[in-house]
């Protein structure tokens, strides 16, 4: 805290209350309040806008054991997004309400996708070209103009990550294009990697990387400085052969073995558990069990450890609960912005969990409650699916709770 105390040249209050105490109190306020209280006085404005204060605040809120500031974001069609509070999802008795939220996407004909989320910042991809970094807590966003501008993409993969050493966010897109003027075909496929860096606000395009590597999941999972994808060796081959990671800091790619080679037509889904990469294996579409593995780092060694099995209920509706792409997780929230007037930061504040909505939600009244959703015919499937999806992403503290409520071993 002392690092930014020196920022406050003029006392924060005319009373005898020391600045350090006022700062202690302010750090406990949600972002909305801090945004409002910038208006209290010049010293308050300066303090609340300072990057150090913002970072300290983010850290405090991210470490909140109750996850009271976390949100799950449900991306939708036409830029219509909803969010709900995070903790009630893990409590059978509690209902949670969905709230609509204004997204920066103005026009959309397809499903908007979450490229990823870090510290409360969400990177959105609105096909075919629009890529936006959005801080929903403070309603600020930045569109990445000219990113992938001249690329005629047949298919794309993407990820969003943060490099702590340089304090920068990066967006990476992998586009599969035709290498000739002919139509795209796997034989003339060429891979183009585009990288956006927030610190320098710059774009970079790299060719000839990832030869003979095909990324299976759309959105890479960011954990521990790297963005991970399941990969295969041929275009459109969805059978996982290995895991590919992109190091956000030095922008290098690395390949890693799976804990075992799965059967054909099996599913390997990536997720994040605390600061570990998690892998959920489902042997086939109608399987009733998935196995969850995590990647443990021990010095330079990495090893896969099987944590537990998830058994799906019989009445899951004849559909594998876990066919979803595991949503990106992000605990913490930030209010970083690119508003130059406000000295380069945004801050947002409530941590969000971006959850890709891959299933159709039947028509519901505006602001449906989970109770209403419960009554829907497919409620079971959906809830199980949502739960399974969340399994792959939440941290272990919550895991323990879910397991006691729900899982059988």
């Amino acid at each position: 805290m002392s690092s930014f105390l020196s920022l406050v040249a003029t006392p924060l209050s005319d009373s005898i209350i020391p600045d350090e105490i006022i700062i202690e109190i302010l750090l406990r306020l949600p972002t909305k309040l801090l945004s409002r209280f910038m208006c209290v006085s010049k010293p308050w404005h300066k303090l609340i806008s300072s990057p150090d204060f913002i970072k300290t605040h983010l850290k405090l809120i991210s470490n909140d054991k109750e996850y009271s500031h976390h949100r799950v974001l449900l991306t939708g069609i036409g830029g219509n997004f909803n969010f709900c509070s995070f903790p009630p999802l893990f409590n059978e008795e509690q209902c949670t309400e969905l709230f609509p939220i204004n997204s920066p996407i103005q026009k959309s004909y397809l499903l908007s996708r979450a490229v990823g989320s870090v510290d409360g910042l969400i990177c959105l991809f609105n096909q075919p070209r629009e890529i936006i970094i959005w801080n929903p807590t403070i309603s600020k966003s930045k569109e990445l103009h000219n990113f992938r501008k001249d690329i005629l993409s047949f298919d794309e993969r993407y990820g969003f990550g943060y490099d702590k050493s340089n304090d920068e966010y990066k967006v990476v897109f992998v586009d599969y294009c035709s290498s000739t003027d002919d139509e795209f075909s796997p034989s003339n496929m060429r891979t183009v990697v585009s990288i956006y860096s927030s610190r320098t606000d710059s774009l970079r395009t790299v060719h000839d990387q990832l030869q003979h590597i095909y990324l299976v999941n759309d959105s890479g999972k960011f954990v521990n400085k790297k963005i991970y994808w399941v990969s295969s060796t041929e275009f459109n081959d969805h059978n996982a052969r290995s895991i590919i990671s992109f190091d956000v800091a030095d922008e290098t790619w690395e390949s890693m073995e799976l804990p075992f080679s799965g059967e054909d037509d099996s599913y390997f889904e990536l997720g994040v558990m605390e600061s570990n990469l998690a892998l959920l294996y489902t042997s086939h579409l109608h399987a009733t069990t998935s196995n969850l593995w995590i990647l443990k780092h021990c010095g330079v060694d990495v090893s896969w450890t099987k944590l537990f099995n998830i058994k799906y209920p019989r009445n899951a509706g004849g559909q594998t609960p876990f066919t979803a792409v595991a949503p990106p997780v992000f605990k913490g929230e930030g209010y970083h912005v690119w508003d130059e007037r406000m000295e380069a930061h945004i801050e947002a504040n409530d941590p969000w969990e971006a959850l890709e909505e891959d299933y159709e939600v039947p028509p519901l009244p505006i602001n449906p409650t989970m109770a209403q959703m419960k009554n829907q015919k497919e409620k079971k499937t959906r809830r199980e699916k949502a739960r399974a999806t969340l399994f792959a992403t939440v941290s272990s503290g919550i895991f323990v709770r879910i397991m006691t409520v729900k899982l059988t071993f």
Binding site: F37, C39, S41, S139
Partner: protein
């Protein structure tokens, strides 16, 4: 037992196990500087009584988890912070001076909770702050985040 003296010359005896929750006094005891009465020139007796009440209740904090008394402590804490705004700050200042981490956390959280939903005007008054922003500057801040100044829940009362 350790003797504490408030700035209005009242003396209080506190068990050592309770009082060492204060890092400051713990250090004094370790350095052998707590042989007689410890004067606390920044704390009045009314506030010191509150602080001692807290220290006595939290004396066996570590044990509480084992014996299932956590709920009891939680209830005590909730009741404890149920005090006036000025009084709360007296306790915060005392906790800060004595370096009692948990008490500081508890009271700062309570202060933060009371600021939730407050209007800018109310906060200025509650924390005695002179507004040195011009009307234009203020408007600029509001325009930048209008959503932060909206909502039916904004509370303009000062308490």
């Amino acid at each position: 037992m350790v003797k504490l003296k408030s700035n209005d010359d009242k003396e209080f005896e506190v068990e050592e196990a309770a009082v060492i929750q204060s890092e400051m006094i713990k250090n004094m005891i370790e350095d052998g500087c707590a042989t007689s009465v410890i004067p606390l020139p920044n704390i009045d007796s009314k506030t010191l009584i509150k602080v001692i009440e807290y220290l006595n209740k939290h004396i066996n904090m570590g044990k509480a988890a084992e014996t299932g008394e956590e709920d009891d402590l939680k209830e005590f804490d909730e009741q404890f912070v149920n005090m006036g705004w000025e009084e709360l700050f007296d306790v915060i200042m005392a906790a800060n001076y004595l370096n009692i981490h948990e008490l500081m956390e508890l009271c700062c959280q309570s202060a933060a909770d009371r600021l939730k939903n407050k209007s800018v005007r109310a906060v200025r008054e509650m924390l005695k702050i002179t507004n040195d922003l011009t009307e234009e500057e203020e408007q600029e801040i509001i325009n930048d985040a209008p959503w932060a100044f909206e909502g039916p829940e904004i509370d303009d009362t000062v308490n």
